[in-house]
């Protein structure tokens, strides 16, 4: 990929700093423009794939209603625009998207954009919290394992990580529910919040946090297990390098070596993986959302697929596609923060 950051060793003067800032603005702008054809391709592929799935929304709706007359079915198809030729349906849809209208979910009787907007906050909250949980646990675990290589903390961390990694996420979720919501009723069974209505911001926060704890932990640990192993491996590699030996020879405190030298340098591969996994985290959240009745986009997408709600599905694919592309851009920018040698252009 041409837009990958490249290493550019050199001395940065004042002029260079200015031109560098200009070039990074140009770079971000270019990347944003490149998103458009990507999204168009995503849209086209999504549309074609969805059309290849047998059955349509009308049949599902009639199926759930327990029968219908042919007139009723014809009327629904006409209302939903499903009686048009495929390319017309696609053109109509693409034109709507360009004008900022993601269409209407006939299944949910609501504009797609509104539907996605109503579920996006819950998804982002879960994903971001889970991300923080996974990174904190992953880094801490990895650092502990790497610094105590071959000793019991290393074995313990690796064993736990392996165990979590091998446990399917829904099983872990169900286990946590049975333990911390049923046997020890500390947390709610699921959902986003107990009851809405008039209450203080603090109560609302506590309410949502209590509901968030188990799903975020479930999703977070699943990824933490991967990050532990990655961090450990990366740190071990860095530990053997010259600059670490130099620091040690200089008499730098061991904790400082870990924090400033090994861990920071080990972050680069980790950030790459985290960036790539954000997409899968959005998708992987489906199971967690289902187990914990979390009102996120994953469940919405799964239901839309089950019901052949094409407008909604295409909208969701488009949104998550955009999200993944943006996160990739973000990751590339984070590289420059972590490693001053990395420049973008």
């Amino acid at each position: 990929m041409s837009s990958r950051p490249t290493e550019m060793p050199g001395v940065a003067g004042a002029d260079e700093a200015r031109s560098e800032r200009a070039s990074s603005v140009r770079y971000v702008a270019l990347r944003l423009v490149q998103i458009l054809p990507t999204l168009f391709l995503i849209l086209l592929v999504a549309f074609v794939l969805l059309q290849m799935a047998p059955g349509d929304l009308v049949q599902v709706m009639v199926g759930e209603s327990g029968g219908a007359t042919p007139e009723y079915v014809a009327r629904l198809r006409q209302t939903f625009g499903l009686d048009e030729p495929l390319y017309v349906q696609f053109l109509n849809y693409a034109l709507n998207v360009v004008s900022g209208d993601l269409g209407f979910s006939f299944r949910n009787n609501m504009p797609v954009l509104q539907l996605i907007a109503s579920r996006l906050p819950a998804t982002l909250l879960l994903a971001v919290t889970a991300l923080i949980v996974s990174v904190v646990l992953g880094l801490a675990g990895g650092a502990v394992a790497a610094t105590s290589r071959g000793k019991w903390p290393d074995h313990l961390v690796s064993l736990v990580a392996l165990f979590v990694y091998a446990t399917p996420v829904f099983l872990c979720g169900v286990g946590l529910i049975l333990l911390f919501a049923v046997a020890l009723p500390w947390f709610p069974i699921g959902g986003f919040a107990d009851l809405s209505g008039e209450r203080g911001a603090w109560q609302a926060f506590v309410d949502v946090a209590a509901h968030l704890a188990l799903p975020a932990f479930t999703l977070g640990t699943a990824y933490a297990a991967i990050y532990v192993r990655l961090t450990r491996a990366a740190m071990l590699e860095v530990q053997g390098q010259d600059f670490v030996r130099t620091a040690r020879a200089k008499g730098v405190a061991p904790a400082r070596i870990v924090w400033r030298h090994t861990l920071r340098n080990a972050l680069l591969p980790l950030v790459t993986v985290i960036g790539m996994q954000t997409g899968s985290m959005l998708g992987g959240a489906i199971l967690v959302e289902t187990v914990f009745s979390w009102p996120g986009l994953g469940r919405l997408a799964f239901e839309a697929l089950q019901q052949r709600d094409y407008n909604l599905l295409a909208g969701l694919i488009l949104c998550s596609g955009a999200l993944v592309v943006l996160i990739n851009l973000l990751v590339d920018l984070v590289y420059t923060l972590l490693d001053p040698r990395v420049r973008i252009r």
Partner: protein, 546 residues
């Protein structure tokens, strides 16, 4: 309202004794709670009842007036009243219709609407609302509306509280469908001149029922609150009804166990959790309230297949399946063996005197030999596919049971799994199947629930739950069409009994199991309607122990 005033407008028992009784003479009111004898306790006002969503997920809209999925009917029956509600054995009781009468010739039905009923926004409810809904929603958008009202030539509204259906011929089916689960009335002032299917009021409904809409948090819950102006003064007892959406089966049981939800209908738990619920002292398992729905598991044959076109083969298949064992093992006792396409719970129509196919593998083998499908060198006669309806994993277990049963008589059956849209397309559009294991609902009347499988005019490609076996018989068509124009209800009932005999003789499909749907509720919850359509009750009499 203990003894309804019966309009003497030509009251007459043209409908045969049971039906006549049912329609015009029963003083209802007390019937609804008769079955819950424990409710001698004084109802308590207040509290929030949390109900569990169906496994199928979230409602699409909050009215069942045109979108009849189960979960829509479940939640919207709290918001909308029907013209009648059903007591035990589908006896209609007054709801929005205070009384009704049928003319001597059975061709005029008059309903006298309750006075002083208001929509949740304060607008008075009148016959114009019903006439509008009838014209624009029931006839045009309701999946079964045209069938229900096929005999109606005109609907007249002589005044704001009178409805008169003029019929071409007497039509008993109308009375089987006037409850709020099936035919809801939409407010004309909010729907007239709009695109009804996309009307925004579908998501924040305005009804006349005991609960009014408060909020819908997508993917999470729907909150209804007490309608303070409900016509049945003093009701409902509950302050709120909340529908919680919980998709995971383990979490669903945990929610009952921890009292996070107190009520769930239409078999809300996985079958293996029911035993736990039964042993749980906090929970009650209730099997009443599903007679109207009369839900069944059926096996349908594709009659265009060379093998299955022979009635001897179909009868052999029926003899090869031990329905008792299937009900006991595969359904874990949550079903009883089927006997007829009309379920025994629809007592008025059910005919127990039909051809029967007891479990008899020897006879099955003999029939298959006679049909010209002997076992080959490896003991196999022929191979077929079995498609099961993906309404949860239960139907897969049924399919597996069938496969084992068929294997024993030399038929190699292969299971095919798929999601719902694909199943519907395969079976009802492409007719690309051999046998299906599927679900059918009876909707309180064979005219709505049973005849669609046997009438040649129901061979409608692309329509789910139509005549997929493509069975076509002049004799059957004659029976069905005679039922539609029967001069009296007794004659109509008789025709549907004949339908059952012929259906069980020709066997284009047959009922494997009568489902025993169950309601799970907290023992603190009282006042549930255990009438025939109790699963879609408005909960106006429900109350929670403090």
């Amino acid at each position: 309202m203990s003894h309804q005033k019966i309009d003497t407008y030509r009251r007459q028992l043209l409908l045969g004794t049971v039906a006549g009784l049912a329609w015009s003479q029963i003083a209802p009111a007390t019937v609804a709670n008769a079955a819950s004898g424990e409710d001698a306790k004084q109802p308590v006002r207040g509290g929030t009842l949390v109900g569990l969503s169906l496994l199928a997920g979230e409602p699409q809209v909050l009215t069942a007036a045109f979108n009849q999925s189960g979960v829509n009917a479940y939640i919207s029956s709290k918001i909308f009243d029907g013209l009648v509600r059903f007591g035990v054995d589908s006896v209609p009781q007054p709801e929005l219709a205070e009384s009704w009468s049928i003319s001597d010739d059975g061709k005029t039905l008059q309903f006298n609407l309750r006075q002083g009923v208001k929509w949740h926004d304060g607008t008075p409810f009148t016959s114009a609302d019903v006439a509008f809904t009838y014209q624009e929603v029931w006839l045009k958008l309701h999946p079964r509306g045209r069938s229900i009202f096929a005999a109606v030539s005109a609907l007249e509204t002589p005044d704001a509280h009178t409805l008169v259906f003029k019929l071409n011929s007497p039509s008993g089916v109308i009375f089987s469908a006037l409850n709020s689960g099936e035919l809801q009335i939409l407010p004309r002032h909010l729907y007239e001149g709009t695109d009804i299917v996309r009307n925004p009021w579908n998501l924040k409904p305005v009804g006349t029922g005991p609960f009014r809409f408060k909020e819908w948090e997508r993917g999470s819950r729907i909150v209804l609150e007490r309608n303070p102006d409900y016509w049945d003064t003093g009701k409902p007892y509950l302050d709120q009804f909340v529908l919680r959406i919980i998709p995971d089966t383990t979490a669903r049981y945990a929610a009952f166990d921890t009292d996070a939800v107190q009520y769930g209908v239409l078999s809300p738990l996985a079958f293996n959790d029911v035993e736990r619920a039964r042993k749980n002292p906090k929970l009650a398992v209730e099997f009443q309230g599903y007679d109207w729905l009369s839900s069944r598991v059926a096996l349908e044959f594709n009659l265009r297949r060379k093998t299955l076109a022979d009635v001897r083969v179909r009868r052999a298949v029926a003899h090869a399946i031990d329905l008792d064992a299937m009900a006991r093992i595969a359904a874990r006792g949550l079903a009883t063996p089927g006997t007829s396409p009309v379920l025994s719970s629809l007592k008025r129509f059910y005919d127990g005197d039909v051809p029967k196919y007891p479990f008899d593998p020897k006879l099955a083998e003999q029939l298959l030999d006679e049909a010209g499908f002997p076992r080959d060198g490896e003991g196999r006669r022929f191979a077929i596919t079995v498609d099961w309806l993906p309404f949860g994993g239960q139907y897969q277990r049924y399919a597996e049971f069938i496969v084992q049963s068929l294997k024993a008589v030399g038929i190699t059956a292969q299971i095919r799994g798929q999601d719902l849209p694909q199943f519907l397309k395969r079976v009802y559009t492409d007719y690309d199947f051999d046998i299906t294991i599927t679900h059918l609902a009876g909707y309180g009347d064979p005219q709505l629930g049973a005849e669609r499988l046997y009438w040649s005019k129901s061979i409608t490609q692309g329509i789910p739950w139509s005549n997929a076996s493509r069975y076509s018989s002049q004799e059957m068509d004659g029976i069905i069409e005679s039922a539609h124009v029967a001069a009296t209800e007794a004659i109509r009932v008789e025709a549907y009994k004949k339908l059952q005999v012929l259906a069980m003789t020709d066997l284009p499909s047959f009922t494997l199991l009568e489902n025993r749907h169950f309601t799970i509720h907290s023992r603190k919850l009282h006042g549930l309607n255990l009438g025939s359509a109790g699963c879609y009750d408005s909960l106006k009499d429900a109350w929670l122990e403090a």
